[in-house]
């Protein structure tokens, strides 16, 4: 989407203002946004976002990367909002909590560092909803079969390898 002000650059700042129930939306580029703020056309804009690095609060301040401190991320995250709950990355970083389950996929890039800092670079193991269990079991089975396959190739057990390959294909096909 082009910036609605200069109509030249790509819009990457989305700003919503609600005064006495009257809502105004701007989709502008970051240069125009800065200019508009300087002229007082929009309030608490960039300064609002940039104030967060110091205002993130207690425990999570070190866990969440400051929006403006991450090169490249800032511009992209400023305008992005989760379509289900409306949260921006700033909202999430401010109190260290996400807005809805979908935020984890919308902000997966921004949040991955945080998750790693809390839990380490790891993936879920353990219980899963029924709907997922079958799929996860299948993934785990595929992984172990593939491992076995590469081992049997290394050991030049080609007959076994062929059997394993057929098994893997069959499972992948049923997916």
């Amino acid at each position: 989407m082009l910036c609605q002000r200069c109509k030249k650059k790509e819009a990457n700042v989305f700003y919503r203002e609600s005064i006495n129930g009257k809502e105004t939306n701007y989709s502008v580029c970051s240069d125009c946004a800065r200019e508009m703020e300087e002229k007082g056309e929009i309030k608490n804009h960039l300064s609002h976002f940039e104030s967060h690095p110091t205002g993130f609060g207690d425990l999570f301040s070190s866990l969440f990367g400051a929006v403006s401190a991450v090169p490249g991320v800032r511009e992209a995250t400023l305008g992005k909002r989760c379509s289900l709950c409306g949260a921006s990355y700033s909202d999430i970083a401010k109190n260290g909590k996400t807005g809805c389950p979908q935020c984890y996929s919308v902000f997966s890039g921004e949040l991955s560092g945080t998750v790693n800092r809390i839990h380490g670079n790891t993936a879920h193991r353990g219980r899963a909803p029924k709907a997922w269990k079958e799929k996860l079991d299948r993934t785990a089975l595929l992984e172990s079969l593939k491992k076995e396959l590469s081992e049997s190739i290394k050991a030049e057990e080609f007959e076994k390898a062929a059997e394993l390959r057929d098994k893997i294909r069959a499972i992948e096909k049923s997916n």
Binding site: T122, H124, R125, G126, K130
Partner: protein, 332 residues
């Protein structure tokens, strides 16, 4: 029956075990971003999923004093009391499982049991989780596990915690080193009423910190093993500290105050409670059961004292009087 009315394992050291699972429903914002209509929808979906076996209490319809009573009995969290939108509690008399609805997550399923019983508590709460799973679309991600409001709960969404009574470690100043050792294992020690609260009465909560990349069983095993070790070393420390005449005198005085005093403040109670419990667990005091000791912990707190006696506007002085009476009634 409530956990504090039941018998349990390793009661000289372990007061209670609790397992809590955080679960959310796909397609809805978390409670802080949920409007009234959405919250009502969540509540009715969850109530329907759990059926008639569970009773729903609308917490927004209760007085602040009643809410405080729930917190003192550890039936709800302090965060739940702060929730702004519609929220409530589902409880079952049958298995002691309760579900906080629209706290920080859509559902917080929990089970508290007396003594060391992490596995048993987990099994009951997992059974309730199956019930939720078969009726609701639970938010989950292959890599991140159960999706929760706070990223610290991602993965299993499980917090297993054990409330322990550690006068031996406290008096021999070993809590600090215990705490740093536990931290290395992904466990944490806190004061009795959770985050930030002081460890009154030598009572601490030990719980798992990490929830992603480790299964529920592994977490429970790790915590149970550590607790077993803590039980052994706490018992040894007690053996040596109770040889002190001063401590035996203090224990006897604590019993004396509880049996005969006319007014007891809550801070005096907490201080003397540790001595009383230590006296019972080392056989210096006889005739007081652990169930009575547990029930004291819950029933002499300000809100429960006022609710129980129906003196809803009792001031501090009146409460101190009520507390002394209540203690006498309980310990008999």
């Amino acid at each position: 029956m409530k956990w504090y009315e039941m018998q349990g394992k390793n009661k000289d050291v372990v007061i209670s075990s609790r397992v809590r699972l955080a679960r959310n429903i796909e397609g809805y914002p978390f409670p802080t971003r949920l409007d009234e209509k959405g919250a009502q929808e969540i509540i009715s979906k969850v109530r329907e999923a759990f059926g008639n076996e569970y009773t729903y209490t609308d917490l927004t319809a209760l007085s602040p004093l009643e809410i405080k009573g729930y917190i003192e009995r550890q039936e709800i969290s302090t965060d739940m009391a702060k929730a702004k939108g519609p929220h409530g509690l589902l409880t079952s008399d049958k298995n002691g499982v309760s579900i906080m609805v629209c706290e920080e997550d859509h559902m917080r399923l929990q089970c508290v049991m007396s003594g060391l019983a992490l596995r048993e508590a987990y099994e009951l709460v997992a059974e309730a989780d199956d019930k939720a799973d078969s009726a609701l679309d639970i938010a989950f991600d292959e890599k991140l596990g159960y999706l929760t409001h706070c990223p610290t709960n991602l993965g299993t969404g499980m917090r297993a915690s054990v409330m322990v009574f550690l006068p031996g470690m406290t008096m021999s100043r070993q809590i600090q080193s215990l705490s740093s050792q536990l931290q290395k294992l992904g466990l944490t020690v806190r004061g009795m009423y959770g985050e930030g609260s002081a460890a009154d009465g030598c009572i601490y909560q030990i719980s798992n910190q990490v929830t992603l990349g480790i299964t529920e069983e592994e977490t429970l095993d790790k915590l149970s093993n550590i607790i077993d070790q803590i039980v052994v070393s706490e018992r040894q420390l007690r053996e040596s500290i109770i040889k002190s005449d001063e401590l035996c005198d203090r224990i006897a005085r604590a019993e004396g105050v509880f049996r005969y005093a006319k007014m007891i403040s809550s801070s005096e109670f907490m201080k003397l409670y540790a001595d009383l419990r230590l006296g019972v667990s080392t056989d210096i005091i006889r005739g007081i059961s652990y169930e009575k000791l547990d029930s004291l912990l819950v029933n002499v707190m300000p809100a429960n004292l006022m609710l129980d006696s129906e003196q809803l506007s009792a001031d501090e002085k009146q409460r101190d009087k009520l507390r002394a009476e209540k203690i006498r009634t309980i310990i008999g």
